[in-house]
C-alpha cells in the first residue's frame, strides 16, 4: 500500500496509479496526498446533468488540471451546451465513398481514441455490388493496395444518433442520453461499464475501454469537450458525438470525418434549417437509413448522389 505513490515503470504515472488503487480498494486506500484529493472528488462527482453551474466549473477545472498534468501540455475541457433550435444530421453518399478509411483515422486523431488498444468510432464496410447493402456479405478487414476494389462499394458505419435510441433506454444509471441537438452522449464519469448499451445498439457504434486508453501526448488533441473527446478513463463506454467539440462552436465547424473525406462523400448540417445542405439532400436525393425496421429513427442518412 505504501509504495502506491512511487513512480512506477511502464509510463504509469502517480495519478493513474492512485486512481487504479481507488478503483480497486477505495475503502482501504485513504490516500492523504494532494493528488489524491481529486481522486475522491472524482469518486463522489454527481451526474453531469445534476451538476450546478458552479459544480460544473469545478469539475471542468479539475479535469483540465488533471489532463494537462498527465499529458504535459495545456488541455482545455469545455462543456458547451447545445445551440438552441439546432438538430444535427449527417449524410453519406455511397456512390462517392471509396473506402480509404481516412475518416476512421481522422476521427481517431480528433477524438483522442486509444491507439493501443485500438478504438475506432467509424467502421468502413466493404460490400459486394451484387449483394447491395446486405450486411451479412460485408468485409470488415479489407486491406488491398488500392481502393476502391473492382465489384465493391463501401459503407462507413458510425453512431447513427438515433432519435429513438435503444442504447440510452437500457442504461441502468442514465449515464448516456440524447442531447437537445440530437447528439447521443456518455458521461464517462458516471458510466459503470456494464455494457448493456453495447448489446442494445444495432450499429456496433459503442466501444468499451477494455484496457487503459493510450494516446501519445504529442498526438493528443487538446481542444476537448466533457461529453466528447476528452481523455477517457478505463472501464467506460465511448462513441461518436458528431465531434461535439467542433460542431457546437459558433461559428460551427464540421466533424473531422466530414472535413477529411477526399471525395466529398460526407455531408453535415442542421436539420432544422431549411437552407442547410442536409435538408437539400433529403428533399432532392433519395435517402435511406440503416435497419429502419428497428424504428431507431437515425439522423444519419445514406444516399446515392449519382
Amino acid at each position: 500500500m505504501s509504495n502506491c505513490c512511487k513512480q512506477p515503470a511502464l509510463g504509469i504515472d502517480r495519478r493513474t496509479a492512485l486512481k487504479g488503487l481507488a478503483t480497486g480498494v477505495a475503502a482501504l486506500a485513504l490516500p492523504a496526498s494532494n493528488a489524491s484529493a481529486s481522486v475522491w472528488e472524482a469518486f463522489f462527482q454527481k451526474h453531469f446533468r445534476e451538476l450546478s453551474k458552479d459544480e460544473l466549473k469545478q469539475v471542468l477545472a479539475r479535469l483540465t488540471k488533471e489532463y494537462s498534468q498527465e499529458f504535459g501540455k495545456e488541455v482545455s475541457v469545455k462543456a458547451t451546451p447545445a445551440i438552441e433550435g439546432v438538430t444535427y444530421g449527417y449524410g453519406l453518399d455511397l456512390s462517392r465513398c471509396i473506402g480509404c478509411r481516412r475518416c476512421v483515422y481522422g476521427c481517431v486523431a480528433e477524438n483522442n481514441q486509444s491507439r493501443d488498444p485500438q478504438i475506432h468510432w467509424i467502421r468502413v464496410l466493404q460490400l459486394e455490388q451484387e449483394k447491395g447493402t446486405a450486411l451479412e456479405y460485408a468485409e470488415h478487414y479489407y486491406n488491398p493496395q488500392t481502393v476502391p476494389e473492382e465489384g465493391h462499394f463501401y459503407m462507413p458505419v458510425q453512431c447513427q444518433q438515433c432519435s429513438n435510441p435503444p442504447c440510452t433506454k437500457v442504461c441502468p444509471v442514465q449515464a448516456t442520453w440524447p442531447e437537445k441537438d440530437g447528439i447521443v452522449v456518455v458521461d464517462y464519469n458516471w458510466c459503470i461499464g456494464c455494457r448493456y448499451c453495447m448489446a442494445a445498439c444495432p450499429y456496433g457504434a459503442r466501444h468499451f475501454n477494455w484496457g487503459k486508453a493510450n494516446v501519445p501526448a504529442d498526438e493528443l488533441n487538446p481542444d476537448t469537450h466533457y461529453l466528447g473527446n476528452r481523455p477517457r478513463p478505463i472501464g467506460v463506454v465511448e462513441k461518436c458525438t458528431f465531434c461535439i467539440q467542433r460542431t457546437r462552436e459558433q461559428p460551427g465547424r464540421y466533424p473531422a470525418c466530414e472535413e477529411i473525406c477526399p471525395v466529398g462523400a460526407r455531408k453535415f448540417g442542421n436539420l432544422n434549417d431549411p437552407e442547410s445542405e442536409m435538408r437539400y439532400l433529403i428533399e432532392n436525393k433519395r435517402v435511406f437509413i440503416l435497419k429502419e425496421e428497428l424504428n431507431t429513427q437515425p439522423k444519419f442518412f445514406y444516399f446515392y448522389a449519382t
Partner: protein, 428 residues
C-alpha cells in the same frame, strides 16, 4: 436484541465446529475463493482486457454464469409451492433448504455482475436517490430491484423460521405465510426480468423472441431442483438430517415436466428460425452447426441437448427416477446441460455474428475461469455455512440452552461418515 446477539454468537461457534471432512471442504472452498480474489485483483489492475471479451462479444462467461444462477435461485419456488400452497408435508420439511439455496445463488449472481462491470467503484450510481437508477426504463434497473427484493424475502423468511425454531417457538404463520406467498411471484419475476433483459433488444434477433422468458422459466425449473435433489441425497447420506424419498421423487417428477416444456419450446424456436430461413437464422446456425467455419459452441450445445433429452427420459420413467443411481446421473446431466444451454449457449450467440455481421469467436481466458471458479467456491461456502446452521436447527441439535441464554450444540461434526450416521440415527 440480546436474544439476536446470543443467537448470532451461537452460530459463529457452531460453524467453527465440524468433522475433519467439514474442515477440508471449508478450507478448500476458502482457498479456491482466495485464488479467485487474486485473479480479480489482477483484472481490476489491468482492466477487462484480461478477459476474452471484445466490442463484438461484449458479454461473456461472467454474464453466462449470472444468467444460469438466476435460474437456480428462482427454482426454490418449486419447493415453496407444494409446501405452502398445497401444504404437502414431506416437502414442507425441506423447503427452507431451497430458500437457503436461493440466497446463495443470488449472492453468486451479484458477485458475477460485480466482476463483469468496468467500474465497480461506481456501484453506488445504482442506488436509488443516492445514484440515478434508470427505473422503470432499463431492464437492468428492474433486475437490480427484483433480485434485491427476492434476496431480502428469502433472507427474512429463512432467518426468521430458523431463529424461531432455535428459540423453540413456532414461527408465526400470519407473518411467514404472506411472505412465502409473495416469494412465488418474486421468484418468477427474477427470471422473467432477466429474460426480458435480453428479450427487449431489437438489435439481437437471437434473443428478440417472445419465447425466451418461458424458456428461461422452464429451464430454471430443471437446473435448480436438480441441484437440490443432489443436495438432498448428500445431506441425507452425510448428515443426521432425514429427507423422505417421497419428497425427492416428487421433485424429480416436476423436473421431467419442466424439461419437456423446455425442450418443446427450444424445438419451436429451432423450427421457426430454420423454416423461415431469414438472416435471423445466423446465430442459431452458429450455435447448432457453426457459421463460416466458426463452430466453437457446436460440440457444447449438442452435449447439452443430449444430456437434457437423456435426463428427460430418466425423470419421466418412474423406475429410473426412483433409483438413486440413475437419479443422481439424471441430476448431473440436467445441471450440466442447462448450465451450457442457459449460460454460454444463450449469451454468446446473441453476439455472434455481431450487429454488423462480424464473427468473433469468444472463449473465456484463464483469468475469467479463475475468477468464476472463485465465485462458485464463495457461493458454495456461503451455502455450506447456511446449511451448517440450518440443518442442526431443523434436527433439534442446535437450540437455546436450558438457561435461556447460551446455546446447546448437539451436532459437533456436521459431515459424518455413513456408519457414524447410521449409529447416530439408531441411537435416537
Amino acid at each position: 436484541m440480546k436474544n439476536i446477539w446470543s443467537f448470532f454468537m451461537g452460530t459463529l461457534v457452531l460453524i467453527s465446529k465440524g468433522s475433519k471432512a467439514y474442515y477440508i471442504w471449508v478450507g478448500s472452498l476458502l482457498g479456491l475463493a482466495g485464488l479467485g480474489v487474486i485473479g480479480y485483483l489482477y483484472q481490476l489492475n489491468q482492466g477487462l482486457a484480461v478477459t476474452a471479451m471484445k466490442d463484438q462479444v461484449s458479454w461473456g462467461f461472467y454474464i453466462s454464469n449470472f444468467t444460469f444462477l438466476v435460474g437456480v435461485a428462482a427454482a426454490a419456488v418449486l419447493l415453496v409451492i407444494p409446501a405452502y400452497v398445497y401444504h404437502w408435508k414431506p416437502i414442507k420439511e425441506i423447503a427452507v433448504l431451497g430458500e437457503l439455496l436461493a440466497i446463495s445463488a443470488i449472492c453468486m449472481c451479484l458477485m458475477f455482475v460485480t466482476v463483469d462491470i468496468g467500474r465497480p467503484d461506481r456501484f453506488w450510481h445504482l442506488i436509488p436517490k443516492i445514484g440515478l437508477l434508470n427505473f422503470p426504463q432499463s431492464l437492468l434497473a428492474w433486475d437490480v430491484v427484483v433480485l434485491n427484493i427476492y434476496l431480502t424475502l428469502n433472507l427474512v423468511i429463512a432467518v426468521y423460521i430458523l431463529y424461531e425454531t432455535y428459540y423453540k417457538r413456532v414461527p408465526n404463520k400470519s407473518f411467514t405465510t404472506p411472505l412465502l406467498l409473495l416469494s412465488i411471484p418474486a421468484a418468477i419475476s427474477i427470471h422473467t426480468v432477466t429474460a426480458f433483459l435480453y428479450n427487449g433488444l431489437g438489435a439481437r434477433p437471437f434473443w428478440n423472441a417472445s419465447i425466451l422468458a418461458p424458456r428461461f422459466l422452464a429451464s430454471a425449473f430443471c437446473s435448480g431442483p436438480a441441484f437440490m435433489i443432489l443436495l438432498f441425497l448428500l445431506i441425507r447420506k452425510y448428515t443426521k438430517f432425514r429427507i423422505q424419498d417421497e419428497a425427492i421423487h416428487k421433485v424429480a417428477e416436476l423436473i421431467a415436466y419442466a424439461m419437456f416444456i423446455n425442450l418443446f419450446l427450444f424445438g419451436a424456436e429451432v423450427f421457426k428460425e430454420y423454416y423461415t430461413g431469414s438472416v435471423h437464422l445466423a446465430p442459431l446456425e452458429y450455435l447448432l452447426q457453426g457459421l463460416h467455419g466458426h463452430n466453437a459452441l457446436v460440440p457444447w450445445i449438442w452435449t447439452a441437448l443430449i444430456f437434457n433429452i437423456s435426463a428427460f427420459f430418466i425423470f419421466l420413467i418412474p423406475e429410473t427416477r426412483k433409483n438413486n443411481v440413475t437419479l443422481v446421473i439424471g441430476c448431473m446431466l440436467i445441471f450440466t446441460g442447462v448450465y451450457i444451454e442457459k449460460g454460454m449457449g444463450l449469451v454468446i450467440p446473441g453476439f455472434v455474428p455481431d450487429v454488423l455481421h462480424e464473427i468473433y469467436e469468444y472463449a473465456p481466458t484463464g483469468i475469467e475461469l479463475l475468477v468464476s471458479m472463485g465465485i462458485w467456491s464463495a457461493g458454495l461456502l456461503i451455502f455450506t455455512m447456511l446449511l451448517r446452521v440450518a440443518i442442526p436447527i431443523l434436527n433439534g441439535d442446535f437450540h437455546v440452552a436450558d438457561d435461556g441464554v447460551g446455546s446447546h450444540i448437539g451436532d459437533q461434526m456436521f459431515f459424518i461418515g455413513k456408519k457414524a450416521r447410521e449409529e447416530a440415527v439408531n441411537s435416537e
